[in-house]
């Protein structure tokens, strides 16, 4: 049986479009609201990345930092985040969930406890920004044992040799970082170049689903239609901030944005 993440990719492929992956921070701007956002956008998104906020993020730009600090300030704890996921998974139209965060949160929870809790609450995959290969070898094996997809990251600085070894050790989804940037940076590389790198990865590892993230927005998303999947994060976080500043409902605004994103790649 295919796991839920692979299934989501398969479904998108059948519809001849890339899978849409969204990223929102758990607890932004409150536990309740972040759950409502997940429920709303799962009508349009195929896979939901749930950001685990951390207060010394070394790879996140301003938008996601703002969301993360807001969530932490509102008192979000690791156990609340698991609860948000398990509540979301009980909803009618739930989608696969991937946690994205920093290793210290897992380390403090205890790797085994963390995975147990992931399984119990319905987390399907993990992206650990600061646990690169080969440092992640043992942990990613543990994930696999628990049927949790450990998603390896690749970047423009990844050498070919390294690329081959990482993809070999990866599970069925890979994340390609489009450019040298923190999250939320403007696309400073041409889509053509990004797609060339993407195709290189697909050639080495054709069976694995490869998504592209960083710099993907309403403006740029349609240029990457011929891919397995695309991640939009910072723009959504920015929309939450904008809504809050204008005293509007972030749930409605984010939902609108995600539906538009989906249309652009359908």
């Amino acid at each position: 049986m295919l796991n839920p993440i692979s299934l989501a990719f398969k479904k998108a492929k059948k519809e001849k479009r890339p899978a849409l992956l969204t990223y929102t921070v758990a607890g932004d701007s409150s536990k309740k609201q972040s759950l409502e956002i997940l429920k709303a956008i799962s009508n349009y998104a195929d896979i939901l990345e749930v950001g685990v906020p951390h207060n010394t993020p070394v790879a996140d730009g301003g938008q996601i930092q703002t969301s993360a600090y807001r969530a932490i300030k509102n008192g979000i704890k690791m156990n609340d985040i698991f609860k948000i996921v398990s509540d979301f998974k009980k909803s009618k139209n739930s989608k696969p969930v991937i946690f994205m965060g920093y290793y210290n949160m897992i380390f403090q929870y205890g790797e085994n406890n963390f995975l147990k809790k992931c399984k119990k609450s319905g987390v399907n995959g993990l992206i650990v920004v600061d646990l690169p290969w080969p440092e992640n070898k043992i942990f990613s094996k543990k994930c696999k044992k628990n049927s949790i997809n450990f998603i390896q990251l690749l970047s423009p600085t990844t050498s070919n040799k390294r690329l081959k070894r990482i993809t070999k050790d990866s599970h069925n989804m890979i994340y390609y970082i489009s450019m040298l940037s923190t999250t939320g940076g403007k696309l400073k590389v041409s889509p053509k170049k990004i797609l060339a790198n993407y195709n290189k990865i697909k050639k080495i590892s054709p069976k694995k689903n490869c998504v592209i993230g960083f710099g993907i927005t309403e403006k740029t998303i349609s240029k990457f239609k011929n891919t397995d999947g695309l991640v939009v994060g910072s723009q959504i976080c920015k929309e939450i901030t904008r809504s809050l500043n204008n005293r509007q409902n972030p749930v409605i605004n984010v939902n609108k944005m995600v539906s538009k994103l989906r249309k652009k790649i359908s």
Binding site: N55, V58, M78, Y103, F107, P132, L154, T157
Partner: protein
Amino acid sequence: MKLKKGIPVIDQGDKLGFWGGKFGGNFVPETLKKPIEDLEIQFNRLKNSKNFIKERDRYFKNWIGTPTRFIKLNNLTKHVGGAQIWSKVVSDANGGAHKIYNATVHCLLAKRSGKKVIIGDTGAGYAGKMLSMAAKKFGLKCKIFMGAKDIKRQQPNVKAMKKNGADVIPVYSGSQTLVDAVSECMRYWVANCDTTAMCVGSTVGPAIFVRICGWSTSQISRELKVQLINEFGEVPKKLKLYNCVGGGSSSFGFWNEFMDYDKKQVEFIGVEAGGPAKSNRHAAPLTYGSKIGILHGAAQYVNQNNDGQIEETESISAGLDYPGISPLHCFLKDTKRARYTAASDEEALKAYQIVTKYENLRPSLEPSHAFSVAIKEAKKLSKDTIVIINSCGDAYKDRGILEQKLGKKYVKSN
């Protein structure tokens, strides 16, 4: 966990960069793997190259001004009444602190790898000031990331950085201190690592930065060993080396050459920042038993909550105001080679007053922490014990705080 003899501590990490199997490492985004690996290859090659060492020593001697003085504090010794109190006046170095060694080495490496820009973090402003000096010297563009709170409290150093042509970029996130400056600097490197070299301002960060910094500041103990032998004819039988510990760069450099001596002969005492006496907050993860966590790419003892969020610190001394600590010091603590304790803000201020009253020496608030503990302990030690405090920074940068805490008159008279 064991400290090996005959191998430099910076080279005692395992393949993945862990000391003692659990401190340090490379917890970095994939994008930084390649630039870090490049830097590792370059450094491992150059640190064994006679030409490079010659070049380094030439700049250390002619530009930084080595060796810095090793002096006896006669009046203070008399006042305290106990061990002989000496100081290694590292603040003699060009720029006024030990940060110049690491900054110079990073600029030499950047220059050799063809990078045009160098970036760095700073807390007290010394790391930033020195990097801006070195960058200017070597013709590199320089950007310094500094917490907005630190910019306010360390103005003399901020002015110096700007004068040297560096961009000082204020960091407003989090606690607006060193921890956020390091994060922001690493983020900038993630986005610009193809054209830009990064200098981490202390023995923290991914393993290679810990190693480069420790290798650079070890100049301090190399000099001291020679000076000790000149003075006493040998390394004294009872020697105690006191040093403040924030990230841990000056203390590691002050101790490195004496690592293989029995600790009964050469004892290392690291003094962390205990923060205000009345506050629960501190910057002393080793003293107060913080748990191991990941901060800025390395596993270390770090102030954090149960979830793993890094906790805010509090210290009068911006240079020690960091929630984590070098993996090297975690290793030295767990192997029991060094002993760690803390001094409060108030104790550091008091030590500053005592030292400046009796001696023509003006330690900044960071080494004042070390002086505080050294003075207390020296009282109880025998006259043939040699106590040395690394006066690794000059109080010029602390003018504002000293004036506010001790009054204008006091600062002026010094």
